[in-house]
């Protein structure tokens, strides 16, 4: 039972080899094995989106992906978005437009927005609202979150992770 599996993951640009239990969830791998606690666990039931990260460039809920499923892949977490001191345009837009209140949903919200903008470079407000359906903000701060994503979409040459 429970034979450990060797996985190789590139997290925020750095390659790591680890022996993991098959049932280890990607979110726990990121938080506990890698110490990257920017990715939050909210509902733990694929609903709230707090644990959203990019897997090979696409948003996924890391509470519903096994670390072994991500083997060989590239993961980007909120810690990997900025380039040095320069925030990612989506992070910058969230700051500028105050797209957060308590901040708990923010890392997942930002990662979902980055993935959404890669697929919809010129979205309407309605598309933004639908595009963030997988992320809940219990402060109900959606108004400024949508404003921030719309603003980020208009940032010229926004690098999209």
């Amino acid at each position: 039972m429970m034979t450990a599996v060797r996985i190789t993951l590139t997290v925020n640009g750095t390659r790591h080899d680890d022996d993991v239990e098959p049932r280890l969830l990607l979110v726990h791998y990121l938080r506990e094995t890698r110490g990257l606690t920017g990715t939050n666990v909210g509902c733990d039931t694929t609903s709230c989106g707090a644990c959203t990260v990019l897997l090979d460039g696409e948003s996924v809920k890391s509470c519903t992906v096994l670390a072994v499923q991500a083997d060989g892949g590239e993961v980007t977490t909120i810690e990997g978005l900025a380039s040095g001191d320069a925030m990612h345009p989506v992070q910058e837009a969230f700051r500028e437009h105050h797209g957060l209140q308590c901040g708990y949903c923010t890392p997942g919200m930002v990662m979902a927005a980055v993935s959404f903008l890669a697929e919809h470079p010129d979205p309407s407000e309605d598309e933004v609202r639908h595009g963030l359906e997988g992320n809940l903000c219990r402060c109900t701060g959606y108004h400024n979150i949508v404003k921030a994503v719309m603003a980020a979409a208009k940032t010229p040459a926004a690098p999209r992770a």
């Binding site: 039972m1 429970m2 034979t3 599996v5 239990e21 098959p22 049932r23 969830l25 726990h28 733990d44 039931t45 694929t46 609903s47 989106g49 959203t52 897997l55 696409e58 948003s59 996924v60 809920k61 509470c63 519903t64 992906v65 096994l66 072994v68 499923q69 979902a112 993935s115 959404f116 697929e119 639908h130 595009g131 359906e133 997988g134 992320n135």
Partner: protein, 275 residues
């Protein structure tokens, strides 16, 4: 929540997956995108002791023109179904509805084969395959067989697939010029449908219901009424016949019996306007 412990094997081909299924029997489960199975395992409602990961069989991720039908590989992710030009042109009901499954993150991982093989009556895509009169292709130790969608869903989370079989392809007949509609009624954007209706019309009609019983259901009374010339509103009045909808926090069985008539009428009207 953490699933109970299991052994993990990765299949590099369909044959390898079938060999693993044969070896481990019903202790094993196939893992595709994991977006039906892993939530159940985290809640410990499912506790397979072996997971056979077929998620890397990229040769089962495709959308192909099969002449009179479109063939979709079982491991095609919802997002790829949603944006497929071929499906948007030939089977728009499927492409559209794939874009309504869960939320963007779920659609990046979940697969059409996983959704159909899971056979959840509350899922969107099984009802779409049923309304379209699709065919499911399965492989097992004895080779390949085709199963009509109408014979695929046997009971709650039970399908015609044998424990040693694997769903490999979903075939959807082309219905040129057909009107179509998918009505999904829920209270929160990403939720399962409280009730859903998939409809396709050109000449004959295919109407299938989501979350109105222990399996996705064909609304045969509605289809028969339409065949004998009933209006959408009159045909929709038959929508609850033969259903046994669940009673839960989202709605009573009576509420669903009412709602399904409203949604079938809307679906038939929208399909009529599109056809």
């Amino acid at each position: 929540m953490i699933p109970s412990a299991f052994d993990y094997v990765r299949a590099a081909s369909v044959d390898e997956a079938l060999a693993q299924l044969a070896e481990h029997g019903d202790e094993a489960k196939l893992l595709a995108g994991g977006h039906s199975l892993l939530p159940l395992m985290k809640l410990r409602l499912a506790a397979p002791t072996v997971l056979i990961d077929i998620g890397r069989l990229r040769d089962l991720s495709y959308v192909r023109d099969g002449g009179n039908h479109v063939a979709v590989g079982a491991l095609t992710r919802h997002r790829d179904v949603e944006v497929s030009d071929l499906l948007r042109a030939e089977v728009p009901l499927l492409a559209h509805t794939a874009g309504l499954v869960g939320d963007p993150q779920v659609r990046h991982r979940g697969t059409i084969g996983g959704s159909v093989a899971h056979g959840d009556p509350a899922s969107d895509l099984p009802a779409v395959v049923l309304a379209l009169g699709g065919t499911l292709v399965a492989r097992g130790p004895g080779g390949e067989r085709e199963i009509a969608a109408g014979e695929f869903f046997h009971g709650f989370l039970e399908t015609a697939l044998a424990p040693d079989e694997m769903l490999t392809e979903i075939r959807l007949p082309k219905r040129p010029g057909a009107g179509w509609s998918y009505q999904k009624f829920n209270r929160r954007a990403q939720d399962w449908a409280i009730v859903g209706v998939a409809a396709v019309r050109n000449g004959g009609a295919g109407v299938a219901l989501v979350n109105m019983g222990s399996t996705p259901l064909r609304a045969t009374a509605v289809e028969q009424a339409l065949a004998s010339g009933a209006s959408p509103a009159d045909a929709a009045a038959h929508a609850a016949e033969g259903t046994e909808p669940p009673d839960d926090l989202n709605g009573s069985a009576d509420y669903r019996r009412h709602l399904v008539q409203v949604l079938v009428r809307r679906a038939l009207e929208e399909a009529g306007a599109r056809g």
